[in-house]
Point group: C2
Chain length 202, copies 2
Amino acid sequence: MNKLITVGRQFGSGGRELGRRLADELGLLYCDNEIITEIAKQTNLSEGYVNLVLEQKPGHLYPITTGHSFYNIINPVPDQAQSVYAAQEKIIRDTASGGGCVIVGRCADFILRDMDPLRIFVYADAESRVRRCLERVDRDEAKLSEKEMLKKINAVDRNRRKYYEFYTGAEWGNPENYDILINTSGKDIKSLVPAVAKLVSD
Amino acid sequence: MNKLITVGRQFGSGGRELGRRLADELGLLYCDNEIITEIAKQTNLSEGYVNLVLEQKPGHLYPITTGHSFYNIINPVPDQAQSVYAAQEKIIRDTASGGGCVIVGRCADFILRDMDPLRIFVYADAESRVRRCLERVDRDEAKLSEKEMLKKINAVDRNRRKYYEFYTGAEWGNPENYDILINTSGKDIKSLVPAVAKLVSD
């Protein structure tokens, strides 16, 4: 059984839920936001800023510690993004070396490529993603219309694509970068898990 | 359980073997070349010509019965290709209506779209496809070099892509047209079958 599983996913496709349930089913560690917490610790940056760095291409970022006025002196932007990325890479590799785990997003498929992980990509049509996102909105969050939600989904995915392509040089969601791609349109994630678990454990 | 399964595949990816084994595993009818035989019967064309029509875009075909000299008079080429395609469509729909089946290629995913088949696409990297093709060459066939085999594979897939896109208006191998995509690079097809069967039967 391949004990390293990476899950790339479109926003709203249920990829995160699939990853979590898969980890439960197979008794593997599930890694997601704890990676952010760990990066923040190692880099002395806030979790919010780490998140921001990891959602955008380095070229678009400004350092929160130095501010714009220092930009022309030492151009620290790419360095800071690179150090966040380096910390993330180390944490992901350490986690993967420690035993089996499921890692969602974060270019883990690329970072762990020499460890031959099973690389899953989860996607769905726009209608299903909008519905899934509208259903899971927190009560405290402003309620978006379907159109606004679709705009948000597309914006998040645009950043994921740019980030993935910037760091890996490969195309996000292109079948050749994955072992299996799963369309969750109109599907219940829970019901997909046993079959995906079998695919992993055979 | 979804009893209608369509399998699109890159040449040399093992998609046909996967389809056949899946049909065996699930006790479903397997449809492949028998469709050609049936089309030939219904259209009074040779199986070889039917095969040719079904591997190319209609615009590239010349009718074997009338020859080039009649081309400008009645332009029968698209009609003949269309009648082959219509016969194929009817046979695929009749087969699908008769109970469960696995149909490999032939735009079956598109033809049966209102019957909600499980649409699988099988692909692999070039190296794996060349190796698979070289291993399965008939003893009577001329032995191709790896380079020649890759050229043949690319030519076949170019035609499959054109044909699929001409008739369906959709992109061949694009994840959004399938439910699950499976990368068979370096994989033993037989070992994938139980998990894919579970995905279908859940």
